[in-house]
Amino acid sequence: MTDTTPRKPIVARMGETILAGIEWAGGIARLLLISIGVGVRRPYGVYDIFYQIVALGVRSLALTTIMSIFIGIVLTWQFGEALMDFGAKNAVGSAASLALVRELVPGILALTVGARMATGMAAELGSMKVSEQIDAIASLGADPIKKLVWPRVVAATVALPLLSVWGNILALGGGGVIADLVFDVPFMYFYETYVDQLVIFDYVSGLTKSLVFGLLIGLIGCYQGFTTKHGTEAVGISTTNTVVATSVMILLMDFILTTIFLPI
């Protein structure tokens, strides 16, 4: 059958999309404020937070390990090839270190491991929403934000920087092995030039990025889960939207943080 419904003008559709985006961002900000409001009140839910840190961290360890080793390998290889042309292959450690610590490890881990965390949260909370488990928590006199959102947001904010530390060590290791095997730059020489190039602020900026990305991931995952509509199909839609929202927001926030950190 032909759809006879008149299409809305493009300006109207653009307006609706912008309004939906503003509403979404407002919802995320509101969730953050409510979470902090209930989270700082006793009981603090320390057990739930630790449970989530362990769950998110341990479940993400394998992916973090694989991603980090390969980020280190690929980036060092690329830099090494380029530096060889200038006869500067010994500088490969110095060149790789800044890109890895400041940008690539926090960024790529947030896009992969973080997106995995966010979709997991969205799917779990979305399923709880459609099966009325979130209403059940509220009807039993507990606060769903305190019980479900606060521990996840804190856990993601803590877990991602911890995973980034682990990722930085592995990226250094992966890069060092490639430098040694492919470019005949000894592992220890790679290590020393790598570490010498870095100042404390480089670590701080990388970890701050991970912390902010973690916070965003927790908030987006929980918000998407809590705003899941009815039915199992909605859980799928919510999860897919979470990947898109997380990726876009991480890249946007990365740009903002880089703009802030680079001049310092």
Partner: protein
């Protein structure tokens, strides 16, 4: 006549453009079992969610013991919800928790009871809903339970904290006749033994006639008929009798 414990006065509720209630009134008396009947998708469950404060009415008053639910802050709502328990349509058991943790959830949240005391209370509640014979049930996860067992565990969870009012949302939907009968007996038993006020939302007339002191029929966004099962058979308007007798 028993005092009114729950009152909905001039309630209007809509979702977007879809109006569910328009100037709706309903009173629930202390200690009675009131059944809300009506067609699918008319908003019977919305009534329960308004009473527990899970949803807010756009207009009108939702009063529990004379207190307006819509005006309550989080702490007062939490206190209210310890007095009102809700049994959800699909049970809404927490997937990630064992039967024991599900049944003991409210006790852990709101009391200082020890693990042993919670275990004992959980066993007592499971026994009350006819699930006391399996000693290993408390360790099982909800996914391994049948539909009927899930509903009964949900019922056990709702009575664990000794509520004054139990709200049942379609307690028998999707169950076989034996389990329907069993749930009906349980609703009556809980009212008899615990003296709780019950509101049962259903569209199944046998259970409505079986458990109810009064029946309220939801039709065209309000309750045109509220009366005893006998009155319903005898005096109800044509639309109500058509629904009861399944006339198209």
């Amino acid at each position: 006549m028993a005092k009114t414990i729950i009152e909905l006065r001039g309630v209007c509720k809509k979702f977007g453009k879809h109006v569910v209630y328009k100037d709706m009134d309903l009173q629930v008396r202390e200690g009675e079992t009131l059944t809300v009947i009506g067609g699918s998708g008319q908003g019977k469950s919305v009534c329960l969610k308004l009473i527990t404060g899970l949803l807010k009415a756009e207009e009108g008053d939702v009063l529990v013991d004379g207190e307006e639910v819509g005006d309550m802050n989080a702490d007062r709502l939490s206190r209210l919800r310890r007095r009102l328990s809700m049994v959800f349509q699909g049970g809404a058991l927490f997937d990630s928790m064992s039967v024991l943790d599900n049944v003991g959830y409210a006790l852990r949240e709101h009391t200082d009871m020890s693990d042993d005391a919670i275990l004992a209370r959980a066993r007592e509640c499971l026994d009350m809903v006819g699930l006391g014979s399996d000693p290993h049930l408390i360790d099982r996860m909800p996914a391994s339970l049948s539909g009927g067992m899930r509903k009964r565990v949900a019922l056990a969870r709702s009575i664990a904290i000794k509520p004054e009012v139990i709200l049942y949302d379609e307690p028998t939907t999707g169950l076989d006749p034996m389990n329907i009968k069993r749930i009906g007996e349980m609703i009556k038993k809980l009212q008899r033994e615990l003296g709780v006020t019950s509101i049962v939302v259903t569209h199944e007339m046998p259970i409505a006639f079986d458990v109810s002191d009064r029946i309220a029929m939801l039709h065209e966004k309000h309750f045109p008929f509220v009366g005893t099962p006998t009155q319903m058979r005898r005096d109800a308007p044509q639309a109500v009798r058509d629904f009861v007798e399944g006339r198209v």
